[in-house]
């Protein structure tokens, strides 16, 4: 009995610590036409990479400071959701504030959610256009979002049929009951998250016992994606999905790259591949390379990395979000005038 009490006491202390400083995952909901998103008026605390508190409005929209004005949607993945920083520091919020500071009353709708693919962006187009009636839709993506579109295990994916790509949608609504139980407790959420990571490592280990995995092949699916023709096909589908509005692609530079000898490189093959394809398809894009260069040259700061992660690695930190937000605001300022 005494042992149980001691265990309970320790678990409570750990629960409080985890809940307020490490991880608090919001409940989820399924929105028809969009997919699984955080529940209305919920909150996420994330302390595993940086530290950020993210508030959600309705239908998965991330809070931005302004709720009135002209409508622009910024549709993206975890870089746009930016749960590693607080709401005011996310690049969408920074861009919105910069526009308002310049007298342009625009409401930027942040529809960022982790692990999206181009197929998800295509699928959600009718919902986005109907719900927000935007003047401009900014789709944030990089090369990996294109590769992810081809995984048939996802709810939305692109399948090659008769030499063209077709959007497929899995009509099953995911069972969120287990997740609803888990997210009640910070400790359970954390365990669930860690177990998932360990499970993936375990599977990789078990598979390696069956057949040796050559170096670099572990994530070959995404890392090795360089099919230009497929890329262009996906871009055309995306363009077609948002033909009723102005579409702008926002590509977050994978820069700077640091080579083995410690020198800085300001170009990345994968980025160039995507930019080249967009230029050929006549798609407008924003690629704020100069903003990132300036961040390093003038302020000696990396756009990525946090106080608890490797430097220049992972998602954008507050400085990276700031540079990106200002670059986006400058572009939108020109387009919306």
């Amino acid at each position: 009995m005494q042992a149980a009490l001691w265990v309970l006491l320790c678990l409570i202390v750990l629960e409080l610590f985890v809940r307020f400083f490490i991880i608090q995952i919001p409940p989820k909901q399924y929105v028809e036409g969009l997919g699984v998103v955080p529940a209305d008026h919920s909150r996420k605390i994330w302390g595993l990479e940086g530290f950020g508190i993210t508030h959600y409005l309705v239908q998965g929209e991330v809070y931005t400071p302004r709720q009135t004005g002209g409508s622009v949607v910024v549709f993206g993945d975890s870089y746009t959701e930016a749960y590693q920083v607080n709401d005011a520091d996310k690049y969408v919020s920074v861009a919105e504030e910069a526009l308002w500071a310049n007298g342009m009353q625009i409401n930027l709708h942040n529809i960022g959610y982790s692990d999206r693919s181009v197929a998800d962006y295509i699928y959600a187009a009718p919902h986005i256009l109907q719900t927000y009636d935007p003047e401009v839709v900014v789709v944030q993506l990089n090369i990996y979002n294109f590769a992810a579109s081809l995984f048939t295990s996802r709810p939305n994916y692109l399948l090659e049929q008769d030499a063209s790509l077709v959007l497929k949608h899995d009509p099953e609504v995911p069972d969120l009951r287990l997740q609803q139980v888990v997210r009640q407790f910070g400790l359970l959420s954390f365990l669930y998250y860690r177990f998932d990571a360990v499970n993936k490592n375990l599977l990789r280990y078990v598979n390696s016992l069956r057949a040796p995995v050559p170096a670099g092949a572990a994530s070959a699916g995404i890392e090795q994606y360089d099919d230009v023709e497929n890329l262009k096909q996906q871009l055309r589908l995306l363009q077609d999905a948002y033909r009723e509005t102005s579409l702008v692609i926002l590509v977050i530079p994978s820069l700077p790259m640091i080579t083995r000898d410690g020198s800085m490189v300001w170009s990345e093959e994968k980025d160039d591949l995507l930019l080249g394809a967009m230029a050929e398809e006549g798609i407008s894009y924003v690629y704020p390379r100069e903003a990132f260069i300036s961040l390093y040259e003038d302020e000696r700061k990396f756009p990525r990395g946090f106080f608890n992660t490797p430097s220049n690695y992972g998602h954008l930190n507050a400085d990276g979000n700031r540079a990106l937000g200002i670059a986006l605001a400058n572009y939108l300022g020109g387009v919306l005038k």
């Binding site: 042992a3 750990l14 410690g262 390093y296 490797p310």
Partner: protein, 473 residues
């Protein structure tokens, strides 16, 4: 295999089951020996061949030395055994270093000697030092030979401490081995706690600190002086938690089987000078160096000149001992320089009598600044230990002296917190005279502690598990 692998867990469970079934001491020892061989051979069967050879030669030699009445012959046997052990160590660890150094020295004369592809057996530095201490202790009468080849073989290969120490003395460990496994609930619980403690130290703290350490040492010129200082101090702390974490895990595994290991770390960051630091850091190595190199050398110097203030008497033993200590860690000039500088500082402390501070009662107000100084100094010297090359060490040191101090500021909070923890925790333990080595918790708290330890380790472990730093020695 590492303690942090599924294979080890499986092997250990099988071992416990077999030990539970077979209670005869000889059978249990045979099982332990078999498991130790499997544990070692898992890395490479060739490593096992080397250690078997070393074990057999040393055992035969120990009997010859012990039974030898003629002092001259006895001395020759000891010398031959010592030379044999050093040749084994020298060949596997230092041959290519020696050849490369000669090539660098005489390369301009057109002399280029070829190096060999030599695989370094894991833990060779540890077990060779153990066999050396065994033969020397038998020679000076401080221990008797093992009662059987089985006991000695188990002493030489006992798996919990085979690859990263602690360096065991026969006088302490052989009697335990001769007695055999001592499987009790108390031992198992205490061992499990030690293991959990080591696990936390390694995968939660040490591996997390590796994040900033690896980055800073990879690209020192990119970062600001502040970041480099944080990285350098983080390495000191990482090394402590990594190595003491491994020692705790080794102690824990041994304790679960009923064997006691000596303490290998005793709050080194509460040291007031470098002399005290070496009394608290990697104690099994520092006492080995003291007993088998420093003291004999000091005595022989004193026999030639009895003055305690004669400078060579003060400086030579410390510097030579620590040069050997540096070389023990690795076959690079960085390690040699690291050892030599430590030796120089030890000698200077002896000369200025600062070393006597180690024996003074503790006083937090007076000791605080010396403690900070020791942390900074040992961290500064550890640059030579960690840097992959002397040129990288030079780049890091320039930053530490604020030459070209500009760069990216990266305040890696875990590094700062853990460094603070080490200092503050050490102060608290010292202030309240806490004995951390004996975990005398009552049962309810023990169970809670075990659960929380493993839960925290699982939750907060960094991405992958990095290899233990001292495996490379």
């Amino acid at each position: 295999m590492s303690f942090l692998s599924l294979e080890f867990i499986a092997l250990f469970i099988v071992l416990l089951i077999i030990l539970g079934i077979f209670k005869q001491p000889t059978v249990q020892k045979l099982v332990l020996l078999a498991v130790s061989c499997i544990f070692y051979a898992y890395w490479s069967w060739q490593f096992l061949v080397v250690i078997i050879l070393v074990t057999l030669v040393n055992y035969a030699a120990s009997l010859k030395v012990y039974g030898q009445e003629d002092p001259l012959l006895k001395r020759r046997w000891v010398l031959a055994t010592v030379v044999f052990n050093l040749l084994v160590l020298g060949y596997f660890k230092y041959f290519n270093f020696f050849i490369d150094s000669l090539n660098n020295l005489f390369g301009s004369l057109g002399i280029q000697l070829g190096t060999l592809e030599i695989l370094l057996p894991l833990g060779i530095s540890f077990y060779i030092f153990e066999t050396l201490s065994y033969i020397l202790d038998i020679n000076n009468g401080s221990t008797q030979p093992a009662k059987s080849l089985l006991d000695y073989a188990l002493f030489a290969t006992f798996f919990p401490r085979l690859v990263s120490g602690p360096i065991m003395r026969a006088s302490h460990f052989l009697p335990q081995l001769e007695r055999g496994v001592n499987f009790t609930r108390e031992n198992f619980t205490a061992g499990f706690l030690f293991f959990g403690q080591g696990l936390l130290k390694k995968i939660v703290i040490a591996d997390t600190l590796g994040v900033i350490v690896d980055r800073v040492y990879q690209f020192p010129d990119l970062f600001s002086s502040f970041t480099v200082w944080l990285g350098v101090i983080s390495f000191s702390v990482q090394m402590y938690f990594d190595f003491s974490g491994y020692s705790d895990m080794a102690t824990g595994v041994a304790r679960m089987l009923g064997f006691e290991f000596p303490i290998n770390f005793n709050l080194p960051f509460t040291s007031r000078n470098i002399t005290e630091f070496w009394q608290r850091w990697h104690i099994s190595l520092s006492t080995w160096l003291r007993d088998y190199i420093f003291l004999p050398y000091s005595r022989s110097m004193l026999r030639r000149n009895t003055s305690g203030r004669y400078l060579p008497n003060i400086f030579f033993p410390s510097i030579v001992t620590m040069l050997i200590g540096g070389l023990w860690h690795g076959a690079t000039w960085g390690f040699v320089l690291w050892g030599g500088l430590h030796g120089l500082i030890l000698a200077m402390e002896r000369y200025t009598k600062i070393d006597r501070m180690a024996g003074r009662p503790r006083d937090l107000k007076k000791d605080f600044l010396p403690m900070i100084w020791v942390i900074l100094l040992s961290s500064f010297l550890s640059v030579l230990f960690r840097a992959p090359s002397l040129s990288t060490a030079a780049s890091v040191m320039k930053k530490l002296f604020f030459v070209n101090s500009q760069g990216v500021d990266w305040f890696f909070l875990p590094g700062f917190i853990y460094a603070l923890m080490v200092v503050a925790g050490g102060i608290v333990v010292q202030r309240f005279n806490m004995d951390l080595t004996v975990l005398s918790l009552s049962k309810p708290q023990t169970l809670a502690l075990i659960i929380v330890m493993f839960l925290v380790a699982f939750l907060f472990a960094s991405g992958g598990v990095a290899p233990f730093l001292y495996f490379q020695f």
